[in-house]
């Protein structure tokens, strides 16, 4: 019952009191009055100390316009965007999202459901999240996956905190590759600060872990070694088993960063000895322009009680039918309170739903052939750029996934800027290095990119 209704039912409130009551607070004006007089205050405003400069003065300063005027203005604004073809990558990858993903995920049962976690009303959503977890488990070979984190960076931070908790003896260092992307590094540093850990880097040689340098840097005080495949430079890491074994020797957890498309092709992380897999699953289900993440987080069974975030499990209804429900919530903050090991009690449910639909629509074969294309297109594009005088591609003598670094004779900043003038965006990643990402959505423009690079390097 809303306040307005109660006032009318009570027959006590005149129109004046009804105006003062808020639809968002259940107290009647009489109750507010009683509370104020009990504490000896004259008004609710007296309880707040809002600086005059930011206090609302009754004017929104919004200019009134018709819908048509607003649409025209916004279309004009959008029209001023530069129309350029992106070969950017580095964390944001554009894959074609089949229309079935929009068609299903925009249904109101999914899009506006609140909350998706209530088993009595949300079996459909819970099952979709369970399917998402099952896909991640299948791709990683690990035993448990949660139904997503905010993004890969949060997942990495939680992985480090988990690694420190599960270790028998205390440790203080987390080792990450020097090429780790800045957003992952900075979120990890935030977590590390609270968990009293320090983040240190190890070098790469030719886009892969410098194993000797890593061996020098590891020690008994290392709680986690993090490696990526594909790496931030697009290379496929070749010595994951060695890195895993080295971490294991020092009782450090081995965390692998990857993504669901790459995992369809690469050796199963569980088979190479990964204890934790993190990554960004929104490479499927969302276009790159969303800039939003979907953190994947999978672990081996021994860490089950330490998993952050939500887990959907199966159960049985009273009449013996299969049902889906959140499970192991005793790990979480709303039950365990200050003893909880993570403050994340939510996930990216709707994005996970979209990713699950996308993966399901591709199927196992479709996902593998998409992954194969990511290898062949990058290799073909690198080979064509390599034919140009003044370009050496790929800069790293490795297999690549989606993207690669190319060395340029001219400064990379000039090359990137002149390519932008010609309508193509690439990343400048070193003084003489650009990074190029090719997927099925921009591969039709590779001929034009190659021609533009040739012009720029003349």
């Amino acid at each position: 019952m809303t306040t307005m209704q109660r006032i009318q039912h009570d027959g006590t409130g005149g129109s004046h009191e009804a105006d003062e009551s808020s639809p968002f607070a259940p107290q009647t004006p009489q109750e507010v009055e009683a509370m104020l007089s009990a504490i000896g205050a004259d008004s609710v405003e007296e309880l707040f100390d809002v600086p005059e400069a930011v206090a609302f003065d009754g004017e929104f300063d919004i200019e009134a316009k018709s819908e048509f005027e607003v649409v025209t203005e916004i279309e004009d604004l959008l029209g001023r965007n530069a129309d350029r073809t992106e070969f950017l990558g580095r964390g944001h990858y554009d894959h074609y999202v089949p229309s079935v993903v929009d068609y299903l995920s925009l249904r109101s049962e999914f899009l506006t459901s609140y909350t998706q976690y209530q088993p009595e009303t949300s079996q459909g959503f819970l099952q979709a999240l369970f399917e998402f977890q099952s896909m991640i488990v299948e791709l990683t070979g690990l035993d448990v996956a949660n139904c997503s984190m905010y993004d890969a960076a949060t997942a990495l931070g939680e992985a480090a905190a988990l690694a420190a908790r599960v270790r028998d003896t205390s440790g203080s260092r987390v080792l990450v590759p020097e090429t780790i992307r800045s957003e992952r590094r900075s979120v990890l540093e935030n977590y590390a600060d609270g968990a009293e850990l320090t983040v240190e880097t190890y070098p790469l040689v030719d886009g892969n872990t410098d194993f000797d340098a890593l061996s020098d840097r590891i020690g008994e005080d290392v709680v986690m070694v993090y490696a990526e495949s594909p790496t931030a430079r697009g290379t496929i890491e070749e010595r994951l088993s060695d890195v895993a074994a080295l971490a294991d020797e020092h009782e450090a957890a081995f965390c692998l960063g990857s993504d669901p498309v790459a995992l369809a092709l690469l050796e199963e992380p569980a088979a190479v000895g990964a204890d934790i897999v993190i990554g960004d699953a929104s490479v499927l289900g969302l276009s790159a322009s969303h800039g939003m993440g979907l953190g994947l987080f999978a672990v081996k069974e021994g860490y089950l009680r330490q998993v952050p975030g939500r887990l959907v499990g199966t159960s049985e209804t009273a009449d013996g039918r299969r049902a889906y429900t959140l499970t192991l919530q005793t790990r979480e903050q709303h039950i365990r309170k200050e003893r909880a090991t993570s403050n994340i009690c939510t996930n990216q449910a709707w994005v996970a739903l979209r990713t699950a639909i996308h993966v399901a629509s591709l199927g196992a074969t479709g996902l593998s052939s998409l992954a194969e294309e990511c290898v062949t297109r990058a290799a073909e594009t690198a080979a064509r750029l390599d034919e140009i005088d003044g370009v050496s591609a790929p800069a790293d003598d490795r297999h690549h996934f989606r993207e690669f670094v190319a060395r340029t004779e001219r400064p990379a900043a000039e090359v990137a800027s002149e390519l932008a003038d010609r309508g193509f965006l690439v990343h400048e990643v070193g003084e003489y290095e650009i990074q190029v990402c090719v997927t099925e959505t921009n591969s039709g423009e590779v001929d034009d990119l190659v021609a533009a690079v040739r012009e720029v390097l003349v």
């Binding site: 028998d168 009680r305 005793t330 039950i335 365990r336 003893r339």
Partner: protein
């Protein structure tokens, strides 16, 4: 319902029991505690060799209803832990004074620990 409260044990307000076994004190949770918690699904134990002050939260018992901290009523060094309960947490329900014990610690039984009669009054 009546709960088992063996005469030879000492007890705490927070429903742990203490068994003075000569060289060490064995700690567990009482029959009343396991019944209140319901099905125990997970147990975390202190590490062997860890030194604890009495009153410190040193173990966790998780049931389908709640997560509870276990406080050691005895100060000292942990000399043994019952790893069987890690794999079979239900031992706390089926045999709280026997196979469901939690850990052993080498300090002395505190003077203010309850005897069986006092504890029975507590849970009545």
């Amino acid at each position: 319902m009546t709960y088992e409260t063996p005469d030879e044990l000492r007890y705490t307000d927070s429903h742990e029991w203490i068994d003075d076994r000569g060289d060490a004190r064995r700690i567990g949770i009482t029959d009343f505690a396991q019944d209140e918690l319901g099905d125990v699904v997970f147990v975390e134990l202190p590490a062997e060799g860890e030194s604890l002050e009495s009153g410190a939260a040193c173990a966790v018992v998780e049931s389908i209803k709640a997560v509870s901290d276990i406080y050691t009523p005895v100060s000292g060094t942990v000399t043994a832990t019952n790893d069987a309960v890690l794999d079979q947490p239900e031992l706390l329900n089926t045999d709280p004074y026997g196979e469901g014990w939690l850990f052993e610690i080498d300090g002395q039984v505190p003077e203010d620990a309850l005897d069986a009669d006092e504890y029975r009054e507590q849970i009545e």
